[in-house]
C-alpha cells in the first residue's frame, strides 16, 4: 500500500457524515467549507498514480491523476461548490449529504485507475443521487426515483458483467485503459453498454428526462452535471475512436432537440437538451482524434456550467412559484428579471453564441467532424445547434418570462427573485460562462491534448451568427406553432412503465384467475373429501378408540369400586386372607402339576 493520499471524495464523505452534528449557526459555513476544501484538494493534486490498495487478489487504484481525469475532476469540484451554494438554505441535511455523496461517487469514478474501483463509485453515484429525486416528496418523484434506480442497477449489472469478463479475458488485469475499439469483444460491449446507459444514449436515455424533471429544485442542478458527464469521461478513457459512437452521438443531438419542441415542462425540456448536448460529446469520443477528444472534454466542462445555470434558473422559478410548466407560467420578467438574465446567459452559452462558453467548446467537435471528412457529422451537429437555440435560448426564456401570462393568482403572488445564495450561485456561474467564452486559454490549458484551435475566426463567427439569428427569425415566425400545450410526450420509458403495468394486470387478472381456479379445485376436489374423511376419522376416534379406552377405564373404575367395598381396613385379616388364598393356589398348582407329570 502506498503512502496516504487524500482523496477529494473522502473530504466530501467526511463532511457529509459530520454535517448532522454541526450546530445550526455553523451549518452554512460548513456547507461552504467542505466543497471548497474538496475543490482545493483537486487543484493541489499533482499528476501520477496514488492510493493503491491491495484487496484480495486485486490492486485497487483510487488516484490515477492525469490530464484527462484532472479536467473532469476540476469541473466536478467547481460545480459542487456552485451547487451547494445554490442550495445553501435547504434545511434538510440529508439532501446535502446525498448531493455530496453523489459528487464523491463521481470524483471516485473519475480518479479510479481500475475497473473495480470505477464500478464501486459508479454504483455509489446511482444510490446517492436517487435521494435527490425522492426528496421532492411528490408521488411522481417516488415512481421516477424507483425507475431511475432500476435502470441504473441494470446498467451497473452490465458493467459488472463486462468487468468480470475482462478479468478472465486479460488474466486478472483490471486496469481501466482504452478497450480495443476496432475489435471489441463481449466484455467491451457490456462495459460500453453500462457507460452509454449513464450517458443517456438513445434508446437507453428515457430515465434522464423522467428523473431530472422530478428532482428537487437544487437536486436537479447536481443531477444535470454529474452522471452523464462522468459517463462521458469513462467513454473518453475507454472507447475513444469507436465508430458507432459517432452515429449514436449525432442521433442523440437531434433526438433531444425534437422532443424539446414538444415539451411543456421547462425542466424536462432542459433534460432533453442534456441528451442533445451529450450527443456532441459522444460523437467527439467516437471521432477519437485529439481535436475531437479535446472538444468532448471542453464541451463537458462548459456544459456542466451552463446546464447547471439553466437548471438553477428554472429551479428558481419552481422554488419561488411552485410551477415549472410553460402553460402555468408567463410574464415573469416583472417579478424575476435577474433570474431571466441569468437563464438567458445559460441559454446563449448552450446555443454557442460568440463570447459565451459553448462557442469555444462545441465548435471543436463540429470542426473535428469536418476535418475527419464526415460532413454529415458536421452538418448534423449544426442542425442540432439551431434546435438548441430555438428551445433553450428562445422558448424557455420567452414562455416563462414573456409570452402570455398563464400564472394563477397564487403563482403570481408568490413569484419573486430567489434568496441571495441562489442569486449568487447564478451570478457566479453566469460570469464563468462568459469568462470561458471570452478568455479561451483558461479552458484550453486544462485540455488533455495541446489545443491548437482558434474559435474566433471571421468565418466561424459569421457562420454561427447566421445560423442562430436566422433560427431566431424562424422562432418568431412560427411562434404560434410553438405555443405550449398541456400535454406530455411518450418516450422510450413507455415500454417499461407500461410493461410494469402489464405485469400488474397479469398478476391481477390471469394469474389471479388461475390462483382462484386452483383454490376452487382444491376446495371442491381436495378440501371436501378431506373434510369428509376427517369427519369419519372423528367418528372412529369418538366411537371406537375413545369407546375402547373409555370402556376399559370404566371397567377399571368399576373393579376398583367393587374392590373398595371389600376393603375394611383390617390389615392382619387381609394379610391372613391373602396368604391363605396364595397357599390354596400354590397347593392347587402343585397337585395339578403332579397329576399331569404322572
Amino acid at each position: 500500500m502506498s503512502s496516504f493520499w487524500l482523496h477529494p471524495s473522502l473530504i466530501l464523505i467526511a463532511g457529509a457524515l459530520l454535517l448532522p452534528l454541526m450546530p445550526a449557526r455553523l451549518k452554512q459555513g460548513w456547507l461552504l467549507l467542505v466543497p471548497i476544501l474538496a475543490f482545493a484538494r483537486i487543484l493541489a493534486m499533482s499528476q501520477g498514480v496514488f492510493g493503491e490498495v491491495r484487496f484480495l487478489q486485486f490492486t485497487l487504484v483510487f488516484g490515477r491523476v492525469d490530464a484527462l481525469s484532472n479536467i473532469f475532476g476540476y469541473i466536478m469540484g467547481l460545480m459542487c461548490v456552485l451547487g451547494t451554494l445554490y442550495g445553501l438554505h435547504v434545511k434538510r441535511a440529508a439532501e446535502h449529504i446525498a448531493a455530496w455523496t453523489y459528487v464523491a461517487g463521481s470524483l471516485g469514478a473519475i480518479f479510479a485507475g481500475d475497473l473495480l474501483t470505477l464500478f464501486l463509485f459508479w454504483e455509489l453515484m446511482a444510490f446517492s443521487s436517487v435521494f435527490l429525486i425522492w426528496f421532492r416528496g411528490r408521488k411522481e418523484s417516488l415512481g421516477a426515483g424507483f425507475r431511475y434506480l432500476l435502470v441504473h442497477v441494470t446498467g451497473g449489472v452490465s458493467l459488472l458483467a463486462g468487468i468480470i469478463l475482462t478479468y478472465h479475458g486479460t488474466g486478472g488485469n483490471l486496469a481501466f485503459t482504452a478497450f480495443d475499439v476496432h475489435h471489441p469483444d463481449l466484455a467491451a460491449w457490456l462495459v460500453l453498454l453500462g457507460f452509454i446507459l449513464n450517458a443517456a444514449v438513445p434508446p437507453l436515455h428515457a430515465w434522464l428526462p423522467d428523473a431530472y424533471a422530478e428532482g428537487t429544485f437544487s437536486g436537479s442542478v447536481f443531477l444535470s452535471a454529474f452522471t452523464t458527464k462522468t459517463a462521458v469521461y469513462a467513454l473518453c478513457r475507454g472507447f475513444p475512436g469507436m465508430d458507432v459512437l459517432i452515429v449514436l452521438g449525432v442521433i442523440m443531438s437531434l433526438y433531444g432537440v425534437i422532443y424539446a419542441v414538444l415539451e411543456n415542462d421547462s425542466r424536462r425540456l432542459l433534460a432533453y437538451h442534456i441528451i442533445s448536448q451529450v450527443g456532441y460529446m459522444v460523437a467527439g469520443v467516437g471521432l477519437g482524434t485529439e481535436l475531437a477528444i479535446n472538444g468532448a472534454c471542453a464541451h463537458a466542462f462548459a456544459h456542466i456550467l451552463y446546464k447547471g445555470l439553466l437548471f438553477m434558473g428554472c429551479g428558481s422559478v419552481l422554488h419561488m412559484t411552485g410551477r415549472s410548466k410553460f402553460t402555468e407560467l408567463g410574464g415573469l420578467y416583472q417579478k424575476m428579471p435577474w433570474t431571466f438574465v441569468f437563464t438567458l446567459i445559460g441559454g446563449l452559452s448552450i446555443s454557442a453564441f460568440p463570447l459565451f462558453s459553448g462557442f469555444v467548446s462545441k465548435s471543436m467537435i463540429v470542426q473535428a467532424g469536418f476535418e475527419d471528412h464526415k460532413l454529415w457529422v458536421g452538418f448534423g451537429l449544426l442542425l442540432a445547434s439551431a434546435g438548441t437555440f430555438l428551445h433553450t435560448g428562445l422558448k424557455v426564456p420567452y414562455f416563462i418570462w414573456f409570452g402570455k401570462n398563464h400564472c394563477a393568482k397564487d403563482t403570481w403572488d408568490r413569484a419573486a427573485e430567489p434568496p441571495w445564495n441562489m442569486m449568487a450561485a447564478m451570478a457566479i456561474t453566469s460570469v464563468l460562462c462568459i469568462f470561458i467564452g471570452c478568455y479561451t486559454p483558461y479552458l484550453y490549458r486544462l485540455l488533455p491534448y495541446p489545443a491548437d484551435f482558434e474559435p474566433y475566426t471571421s468565418y466561424h463567427i459569421s457562420e454561427t451568427l447566421q445560423i442562430l439569428l436566422f433560427t431566431g427569425l424562424g422562432f418568431f415566425l412560427l411562434i404560434k406553432k410553438l405555443e405550449p400545450t398541456p400535454t406530455i410526450s411518450l418516450d422510450l420509458d413507455w415500454p417499461y412503465r407500461m410493461g410494469g403495468r402489464a405485469f400488474l394486470w397479469l398478476a391481477q387478472h390471469p394469474i389471479q384467475f388461475i390462483d382462484t381456479c386452483v383454490g376452487e379445485i382444491y376446495r371442491v376436489g381436495g378440501l371436501g373429501p378431506l373434510m369428509r374423511s376427517s369427519r369419519l376419522s372423528g367418528v372412529f376416534d369418538n366411537r371406537v378408540i375413545d369407546g375402547a379406552i373409555d370402556g376399559f377405564a370404566s371397567s377399571i373404575r368399576t373393579l376398583g369400586h367393587r374392590l373398595r367395598s371389600a376393603q375394611r381396613g383390617a390389615l392382619q385379616e387381609n394379610l391372613t386372607l391373602a396368604f391363605a388364598v396364595g397357599a390354596v393356589l400354590l397347593l392347587a398348582f402343585v397337585l395339578v402339576f403332579n397329576a399331569f407329570a404322572r
Binding site: V257, I258, Y259, V261, L262, Y333, Q334, P337, W338, V341, F370, L375, G378, L382, L383, A386, G387, L390, T457, S458, Y459, H460, S462, E463, T464, L465, Q466, I467, L468, L469, F470, T471, G472, L473, G474, F475, L478, K481, L482, T485, P486, T487, I488, S489, L490, R497
Partner: protein
C-alpha cells in the same frame, strides 16, 4: 429596478426593436457575402461559399425542426398529462 425599466423600455418600443433585429439579420447575411470581411478559406465544403449559406441553413433548420417535431408529436407521441396516472 433599472433592469426592469430597461425591459419595459424595450417592450414599449416593440416595433423599433423588430426593425433593429431585422436590420441585424440583413447585416449578418450581407457581411457573409463580403470576402474582405469573412474569409471563406475556412469553409469545409464548396456549398458554403454561397453568400449567406448559413443564414438559409439556420432558417431551414429551424422550420424543419419545428414542423418535423410537431408532425412526430401529432402522430401519437403527444398525449394527455394524466396518461400514466390511469
Amino acid at each position: 429596478m433599472n433592469l426592469l425599466r430597461l425591459i419595459e423600455f424595450l417592450r414599449s418600443r416593440r416595433q423599433t426593436v423588430i426593425y433593429v433585429c431585422l436590420g441585424v439579420l440583413a447585416l449578418v447575411a450581407l457581411i457573409d457575402a463580403i470576402p474582405a470581411l469573412v474569409d471563406k478559406h475556412d469553409a469545409h465544403t464548396k456549398i458554403e461559399h454561397l453568400p449567406a449559406f448559413w443564414s438559409v441553413y439556420g432558417f431551414v433548420a429551424c422550420v424543419l425542426i419545428v414542423l418535423v417535431s410537431k408532425a412526430f408529436g401529432k402522430a401519437g407521441i403527444m398525449t394527455r398529462e394524466n396518461y400514466y396516472d390511469e
